[in-house]
Amino acid sequence: MKWLLNILKLRVTSYLGQAGSLFKARRLEISVSGVIIAGMVFGSYFLFLTGAQFLHNQGEVGSLFLDRMFYVGWSLIFSLLILSNIITALTTLYRSKEVSFLLTMPVSYSDIFHIKFLENMAYSSWALLILGFPLTLAYSSIKSLSIGQMAIMLTLGLPPFLMIATGIGLGFLLIAIWLSQWIRLRTIFLTSVVVSIAVFWFYFKTGRTDLPILGDVANFRAVDRYLLNLAQPPFPLMPSYWFSELVHSLSEMKTGRLLFYWLLLATTANVVWIGIGALGRKLYFSTFQIMEWNSVNRKENGISSLGSLVNHLRWMPPPGRGIVIKDILQFVRTPQQWVQLLFFGFLIGLYLLNLTRIDVQVNSMIPFWRNMIYVFNFGFSGYILAALTVRFVFPLISMEGQAIWIIRTSPFSISRLFREKFWMSFVIFFPLAEIVALVSNYFLKQGVAVSVISTVFLLAMSISLISLSLGLGSVYAQFQETNPMKISSGAGGIITIVISLFFVAVMVASMVGVIYMREMPTMQNAMLGMLTGILLLNGLVIYFPLKWGHRALLRMEI
């Protein structure tokens, strides 16, 4: 334990030193990122606060909704934390050069595992907490919690909550890697995602019908049943529920309940810490060896798998084929990449699954609500696209890594490299966003005209968002970093996601304008003006980032 504390102290000192020197070297960039992050936190806080106040003012039903939304918000954060821990741990526990060094030191594997556990918890949690803090602060302020109470709740509740999520994620990963001696890791992850979707499907299929009333509020029995369901948490055994109960208990000053839920969190975290420690002691070193063995002895049936890929892409002229083959192979062989894409797919699948359960009687709705549903759905598709492009397109140039010299000494231009990466991203992400939009339009019973408009807008957004991520990904390239998640969550990634989200918001607002103006004969000129503005905006978002990225890569000296 003393050793553990020493290395933690060393780690904190080293991070502080690194942060200090990094701040000196990149003062402007870090300051801008800091302002943007602070803006995001405050912006989200005010957004959540406005929404919460609106619901709170609706009386008892609004309060029920508000409680449910807070609980669902933390459930989502808890699920994302587990996923984030799994993905981050692949690097922290197995790929980090420090692990190889530590394994040569006279310390136990268990100690190394524990230090990596804490490191992983910190790495994978901070970004999600940017979402969690404003949500909690807004909810707490509606519940009239004082600053002191909020501080107590976060200080006492958050560490065990994070520890449980990390423990579950790492436990899953240890077992998955141990099983990979017999079953390919890819198959294990894929099976887990399929099983999870099946479990959720079963839950939705057999569970309570939550939303039977949209457009049919005259059915009082349904309303009664709905309100009854709303007051019941769907997963009371989840730590996210216990965490949200801390706020309720504090706001109602129920000390016994507060203590009960905190002890529930703390003792579970303790059990997880002990349990994962035992699992780590048993499996960490052997799974480390399995991962090392996999990377050294990984036969890829080279000729057959490559041969079929080359054959399928034979129509592509060089050097495009080479670039695409390389990027596809690297993607499918980097677990951090495809695991996260799988989980994105899982979340999108859940969203669509959820939509199939809404028995919306769209025709009986007033146009305002019909358009609102449509706008929210379109906005969701846009935000998915933004998240996907920042997560997967932004690191594309950085992922060339220290092998960037190969590209730079090969006989093709930087523009060609950009073109190939752009089209490769486009053919993957545009259909994905389009499927989400079209499938959800179908379940929400939207008309053909609306589907056509959303397709055109999504097309424009796809081109612009991919260009934005590709260009800024080149401006903020990190060739030394091998973890794509760290690349996309760095300063450049944060700037890109903020611009992307802002761009999506402007596009959604513009589209609402176009839909309204379309039906008003007196507004035709204004609509044309707005369409021209949209075209211009997209042109700027495409042109400038690509130009800056091109220039940055051309000027870069290796």
Partner: protein, 241 residues
Amino acid sequence: MIRLENIKKSFGQLKAVDDISLHIKKGELFSFLGPNGAGKTTTIKMMVGLMCPDEGKIIIDGKDISSDPISSKQIIGYVPDNAFLYGKLTGMEYFQVIGNFFRMSVSEIEERVSHYQEVLGFGDWLHDRIEGYSQGMRQRITFATAFMHEPQILIIDEPMVGLDPRSARTIKRMLKEKSESGTTIFLSTHNLSVAEELSTRIGIIQKGKLLAVGTMDALRKKVTSGKNLEDMFLELVGDDD
């Protein structure tokens, strides 16, 4: 074939390359010698397009690499001193990708791979991922991909790093053969015996300046002490460095 005209490159206050001019003819095997930090790698990086000179021109086969980089790169094969390759690809896939970058057909690539497999002794490991290769394996792969498109110019930074004696001997023999068949080779090395054994001409650089250029015989006339390259080198660059 290669012409360096008054090239200069600085990093802040440090003059890494200071007004170097050189002309290397077709079929020459030119060795570039110098102590650590002399400016060898910077010069090479400018020749292959990884860096731009602050001043001066680099002409490759009559074309300025700054204004026409693509056609210059098409005729160059480059072996860096510490080659980072695409670790997630297998050796075989790496050949296919690089061959495609140089616009080679699939059958051409397969034919060349099979040739170099024999010459450089690639085993079954060619179907393993590169991230599991030793430094020597990586170096052999890098050489094979640099040779694969049969470039007119080979630019090699520290050729023998990580190679076992047998592979080193094979590489030396191949460089000799390529030079005799008309390929121009620019070689930077610390290994004086390699330079002495292979080179038609030698250039010695220190603190970014070219101290001497010439054949072994011409260099011998410039120095007072010793007859071998090591003595000449130490006299020119100074023992204390």
